[in-house]
Symmetry: C2
Subunit: 504 residues, 2 copies
């Protein structure tokens, strides 16, 4: 132990928010193809090789000073003797080693709390995945990295041509990663809003939507969805500490083609696919509300817009049209709601955006310590749907190709489901995380996603859908077969959705 680095107020808030029911870690799940002609025990040799390299790189040698006792006034200490065997773990899938077994293992790993008296990361190397593949599950505490930094860390496994990079915990990261105190700008002030809102609790409970709308001077734009319009759903429940994780993989080109035909962006098609899937899933559970679900979509406001500050992250409130059976009408609702939301955010002053972000985030922060709150306050929104840009080029790791990369995010009190999507090459990879106790059979959501996307395609691109049925398109959810697909350079929507979990 040598140096001490103070935690920002926001990072400290993430530590304070760690309870049995709300562990504050995020993770990435990567699937690799074992190279052709690799030795029989490639993965265990990789494990032995990586295990030889001690932990020397920040933030993998950061530890909260004083353990739990330091939680109220925390700072980071740098450890020079990190117990690598604790953080770097070798696991295997039982027979038959398919997507189901991987999902069960990742659900378990994601349900286990981190030990706050050690550096706040775990790297799990997982062998025994069908079709000559292996997986990496990298888990980090939210106090250590935000979503975007975690994404950078995942891509640090990228080996240079003709050479192997050291493991991320031993890499000299240089400019590629710098641990800066988080919580600049808007976010820095979150903990004080928590205190302020605690004082204002009775009025918050009476009608948070009125307060919020008054604070924002909301216009009467009927397409604009703002806080307080979301119905109660099974997702807006008190959560336990156990998680289930599911995934869905599709092609970015396919989504783009649908978007072009329907007159929307990639993000609009993502929202429409999620909407159709949620409608199917909730209907099957007998839990579809009469009112449309509202999604919070994290967006980074651009400075060029003349509005809020550069680091401002806020939520676009998107009405999902889950109350409408017709696919075209549903897509139209999403399009108009999302356009109105973007216009609204553009027009907002910095101060108004600040209030808005805080009012949206406060109930989730409060509910950490008062889970019962979610039972007597209306949800601000029903779930977070987050779209994070990932790498466009193929990534290699010790000769193994990265076949797919899924986000595994967090849920919160009153927010029992999270849907996050990452792009990689021509892929869009969705990770769904849910509270095991309040959201039943989350794995069914993957099937609903496939059906919903088919439905969008057959509505807007009937010829494309016909091609797909005839088998000319690579099958969804089988990453190995999709490898040959064109590396389309992805144009992200200009609002650049990012830092999903920060904006809660």
């Amino acid at each position: 132990m040598t140096d001490k680095i103070p935690l920002s107020a926001l990072d400290a808030a993430f530590l304070l928010a760690e309870t049995r029911s709300t562990p504050m870690h995020v993770a990435g799940l990567q699937i690799f193809n074992i190279p052709q002609g690799a030795p029989r025990h490639f993965v265990s040799e990789l494990y032995a090789h990586m295990r030889d390299q001690p932990v020397t790189a920040a933030p993998f040698n950061y530890q909260v000073a004083g353990g739990l006792a330091g939680r109220l006034q925390p700072s980071w200490e740098i450890r020079d003797n990190v117990d690598l065997d604790y953080h770097f773990r070798f696991s295997a899938l039982p027979h038959p080693g398919g997507e189901r077994e991987l999902g069960v293992l990742v659900s378990r790993l994601h349900s286990i709390h981190m030990d706050l008296s050690r550096p706040l990361w775990e790297f799990h190397l997982i062998e025994g995945l069908q079709h000559n593949r292996f997986a990496v599950y990298l888990k980090m505490h939210h106090a250590l990295v935000d979503g975007m930094q975690a994404m950078k860390l995942l891509t640090l496994s990228d080996d240079p041509p003709g050479g192997f990079a050291p493991p991320i915990w031993a890499a000299n990261l240089g400019d590629r990663f710098a641990h800066v105190p988080q919580g600049e700008g808007l976010l820095r002030r979150l903990p004080s809003i928590v205190r302020r809102e605690l004082d204002a609790l009775p009025s918050l409970a009476r009608g948070v939507s009125t307060v919020a709308q008054a604070a924002l001077g909301v216009s009467r734009d009927r397409d604009l969805t703002t806080v307080g319009q979301a119905p109660r759903t099974i997702f807006n429940a008190k959560i336990s500490g156990q998680r289930r994780v599911a995934t869905f993989l599709t092609s970015l080109n396919r989504v783009k083609e649908i978007g072009r035909a329907a007159g929307g962006t990639v993000n609009d098609v993502v929202l429409a696919t999620c909407s159709g899937a949620l409608r199917r899933y909730l209907e099957a559970q007998g839990q579809l509300p009469e009112k449309s679900l509202v999604a919070a979509v994290p967006v980074a406001l651009s400075r060029d817009g003349g509005g809020a500050a550069g680091n401002a992250v806020t939520n676009l409130m998107a009405r999902l049209g889950t109350d409408v059976a017709d696919v075209r009408r549903r897509f139209d609702i999403i399009l108009r709601s999302s356009d109105a939301g973007k216009k609204h955010l553009r027009d907002m002053t910095e101060a108004a955006a600040l209030n808005y972000t805080m009012i949206v985030a406060a109930p989730a922060m409060l509910a950490v310590w008062m889970p019962e709150l979610v039972e007597f306050t209306p949800p601000m929104y029903n779930l977070i749907i987050s779209n994070v840009p990932g790498p466009r080029e193929k990534i290699h790791f010790h000769g193994a190709e990265l076949a797919a990369m899924y986000p595994v995010s967090q849920v919160a009190q009153g927010q029992a489901l999270n849907m996050t999507v990452i792009s990689y090459m021509d892929q869009l990879a969705f990770g769904f995380v849910a509270c095991r106790d309040s959201v039943p059979s989350i794995q069914r959501l993957s099937g609903c996603m496939a059906e919903s996307l088919d439905e969008l395609e057959s509505t807007f691109l009937p010829s494309g859908a016909a091609r797909r049925v005839k088998g000319a398109r690579p099958k969804e959810r089988t990453p190995r077969k999709a490898r040959g697909a064109a590396k389309a350079a992805r144009k992200m929507p200009s609002k650049r959705p990012a830092r999903s979990s920060r904006s809660r």
Copy 2:
């Protein structure tokens, strides 16, 4: 949820004692041989078969009422819809699937807290174990079962001849297992001693040994080891929540032969083997104290002795002679100390035995909430060495032979190492559990055990040791090869050591 069953005061104390650093669960690790000619995916078929059978049997459907909120005045509720997929888990070992990989997995599983809002058990079926074997790790919270009940549950996997029993959570256990409120007799009064000792804290810190010796009216028998004679060791440290587990397997006949030649019981040879191993291990760490280590050996006092009550469980304090290099002299010290301890316990009145048990147990109970206590009070003893009788007959489970069965017990604040041994057929199987942070490289203790037993054998049975060197004796620690060994009916030492963890 239907019925409510109150927890005994002691069971409630076990729930209250659950902290991040001191999870209160115990476990058993069983190794099975896959039957000859079994289908290729025998273990996953077994998993699928067992997974079909819902949880209907007590105590597997017991849950603490009200979750964490109910901890201060807890009672059990019976659940009729237990989520079997949560409790019954299928895992696999990574390559090469040897004893090392099994140890790593079990160490991890034993470090994970139980979810107190669900029934307090987990059944892990583990495939991928070398030499055509699989493993079962069964974990239960101490509030649900004591050590002896857990042992009964493990043997419930025993199939009747020519048929298969349902899994333990679906079995009609009838007379074989009845969940009786625990904590009858002596143990029932433990929580009150905690309160009493809290009042007396300053005097306890000043000199617990004086208090204890005065209370007991200890004679001047120089062989009698009682409280307050144990040196400080690395085992008597503040513990974290992370565990490491190691095992050692030997033959009961071999231990008996050494005991006969040396003039001691099986239990004396067990203590002598542990003593030699601890001496080697501590010496290698540069941590061997000048004074002898003192082990607490849980014993059930027999009613026939005319002394304490039938359910009385107390600790025999055994001086281990770790300060003596000579094997014969060390054995003699153990023999005399253990005999004096037995005589002392026999002569004690019930009231004195009660005081004695409480005085010995109190510091460990206090330290749960005040871990710093262990840093300024002397240890009452250095570690617990517990000997639990197991089944004598071969056990089968769906056609698979039980090849070995290891205990995986608990550690406590100030008691960072536990050594427990179970007998099964001709085997003595040791399970060592240690705090990962205060006891380094616990797996080396297994090697030290083998060397210590060899040393005892070559001292007391030079001809037997010569036979072993020539290879006539089955190799230690390879359960499959030991299978052919004679099923010697085991005569347990008359004091019947039992219920290890209850007596802490």
